[in-house]
């Protein structure tokens, strides 16, 4: 695997190789000395052209735990969003002998475009409404951690599926890994023809939750929603939000995932987010290990 631009392209075997490697990486973060020498002397550039705390810090920690040098580039004060400027930047980074480029951008396709200009591995850390592959991998890992496997598990993804790169990456990854994926949300937030991705659309949250192993709540992205896709936050919370009572519809051992940051009281009630079935903080922990696995595998395979 030379790039990680999406979860649509890699084979099931490639995804599983990343999950297997994540298992070993997870242990490193539990040591007193949380560092191995594997990527000593390598340079990882984290180019985050859209605001991000969790993912950027996660990639930075992942690189450092592998002993790579991590350099963070942000868009603040510059006008990097034009395609031409980006390709120039790519050439400059290349000339500085970076070994890996991690990119987040608000426009779909930017990581893929940069990958075409560069000979080094490019990792998509989220591009617009397109994909966020490392998030899907850490979600898959968290599911495997909870149940031992993914095959046959029922995963319900609830919320703004149409505008969610997390949902898109998860749909590709989880169906490929053998899960039964259901989606539910307001009709304005469900893509037309979504069945063709091998998922089952549900008309209510109750239908989606029934017997589910995994409940994945999506964040309502207030900053992206310009038009009114739902009447009000209160209405959304009562129709599509996850409460403790609703969660009883899922299996007794069901787990709850959320990519963060959480809008408490909107898509998920605090009573659920902070309770036992929640794996939200495990997801963050697993995110570092997942990104270590991806950095480790890509830096070798790309040569």
């Amino acid at each position: 695997m030379k790039q990680l631009l999406d979860t649509e392209t890699p084979s099931r075997e490639e995804l599983e190789r990343i999950l297997d490697t994540t298992e070993a990486m997870l242990e490193i973060s539990q040591r007193d000395i949380k560092k191995v020498p594997t990527l000593r002397g390598r340079t990882v550039i984290n180019m985050f052209l859209e605001p991000s705390t969790r993912t950027r810090v996660s990639f930075e920690i992942a690189a450092k735990r592998l002993s790579a040098d991590a350099i963070n580039v942000t868009a603040s004060g510059s006008s990097l969003s034009k395609a031409e400027t980006l390709s120039d930047m790519a050439r400059n980074l290349s000339a500085m002998q970076a070994d890996v480029l991690v990119v987040r951008d608000r426009n779909a396709g930017v990581p893929a475009m940069l990958a075409r200009h560069l000979s080094i591995p490019v990792i998509n850390a989220g591009d617009g409404n397109h994909e966020h592959p490392t998030q899907a991998l850490l979600d898959a890992f968290t599911i495997r951690q909870a149940f031992g496997n993914i095959e046959g598990r029922v995963v319900s993804i609830i919320g703004d599926v149409a505008h969610s790169r997390v949902a898109r990456s998860n749909i590709h990854a989880l169906t490929k890994l053998g899960a039964e994926v259901r989606i539910a949300g307001p009709p304005t937030m469900i893509p037309v023809g979504v069945e063709q991705f091998g998922v089952k659309p549900c008309t209510s949250i109750d239908e989606a939750l029934d017997g589910a192993h995994v409940v994945m709540m999506l964040r309502i992205q207030m900053e992206r929603l310009e038009g009114a896709l739902f009447p009000s936050v209160r209405e959304y919370a009562s129709t599509w939000g996850l409460s403790r009572e609703r969660l009883r519809l899922a299996r007794p051992d069901a787990v709850v995932l959320h990519p963060g940051p959480v809008n408490r009281g909107v898509e998920i009630q605090s009573e659920v987010a902070d309770a036992e079935p929640s794996r939200i903080l495990d997801q963050v922990t697993n995110g570092v290990a997942t990104r270590m696995a991806v950095l480790y595998l890509l830096t070798g395979d790309s040569q």
């Binding site: 070993a24 997870l26 040591r31 020498p37 990527l39 480790y296 070798g300």
Partner: protein
Amino acid sequence: MTHSNSSSGPRSRGTDPRVSATEASSGGRTPESLALPGSPDRGSPDRPASEPAPSGSASSGTRGGSALGGAIAAEGAALDPSEAPQPSAPAPFRVVLDAAGVQRAATRLAHEILERNGGLDSVAVVAIAAGGIPVARLILDKLEQITGQRLPLGELDVTLYRDDVVGRGKRPVPHRTRMLPTVAAMRVVLIDDVMFTGRTVRAAMDAVIDFGRPEGIQVACLVDRGHRELPIHVDFVGKNIPTQRAEQVSVVEISPNTFEVRVA
């Protein structure tokens, strides 16, 4: 032999690619080889870091193979097949240490470890994953028979510390390390199945020290096949088996908890 090999290390590089290729595939190549009682999660990781580095650690790639997959690539040229009963008859390998021989070697290793350390009080046994795990369990069994004391076993994967993985090339999937709660101030006995280039032990020493400062580190192996490329000394050897570089040495589980050593 070891000496001559170590000095010839760099020169032998020419043949390395071939060696590594063969050895790299050893885990998968010998299907019957070691199902790795010790590796819970996966059967056959993609082999080692072998294709790699022109700088050459093809041979260490071999060790990578053993560490990761189970079967050990070693070699045992000129070994006397006579020594083994060869239960599974005609096959393209020779048994250089049969099941009874493996038991005897493990018993002797246990006694030597006890004697050197004056008991087990400050001994911490750490297996190098994955090939060292079954060998270590065997030695722990013997130690228990002798002393009545069952020591816990640490499992150390050294993939992320290897000099050949640090280079470039298809990455092996590491095993999860399950280290003992503490190694600080302990006498750590590292156990591996086959001693070859010494690169695995070098990586393992770095890894152990990341977990704390041990009072000392000792190394035990079931088989020493020679061809050291680093100045690494083995404290306890089950059996010395002279081999040719290109040969492959495997510790194979022929029935539950019964092992023999083969050279192909």
